[in-house]
Symmetry: C2
Subunit: 98 residues, 2 copies
């Protein structure tokens, strides 16, 4: 196995986590637009499971000292803010279309 | 940030994943003995969510080249075998006690 600095791994880890957060956001966006209502329990379950998965990845990266706890917390917080904005705009759209 | 070889990180990553698999096994063991029946949907949900979390960690470690795909697959397979043995022995115990 080749030698690599921990710092290079850190950058890669952070980029992967951002990608994964991005994927969750896209998944929820698609779900909101096409599949189910945000009030649907299935929607909540998918979201909770996905958020749990990402939190496990972040926790794992923190334990490997690839990212620090603060960075991990920010990643989760940012995704939560984005999801909540998405949820609100989807609600507004539905109200307008009624 | 200190320099560390990728190989040291790999070992640590693998050990952490094994620990996490061990934790899931313990959690399910406690649930089986004390809380709910294995037929209970809540039990299935907890197990599925936990397995999903571990699979996200493993996938993340694979993408960082910390473990290879084969090692990741083996970790999941081993845990699944252990859970299934646990499930069977719990069923046998319940049958005996009836």
């Amino acid at each position: 196995m080749s030698l690599e600095t921990l710092s290079g791994q850190s950058e890669k880890a952070y980029a992967l986590l951002q990608e994964d957060a991005e994927k969750i956001l896209k998944l929820i966006e698609v779900q909101m637009t096409n599949l189910t209502m945000p009030q649907c329990p299935l929607y909540e379950e998918v979201l909770d499971t996905q958020m749990f998965g990402l939190s496990r990845e972040i926790d794992f990266a923190v334990r490997l000292n690839l990212i620090n706890e603060e960075e991990g917390k920010e990643l989760m917080d940012k995704l939560e803010r984005q999801l909540s904005a998405l949820h609100e705009s989807s609600m507004e759209q539905k109200e307008k279309s009624q």
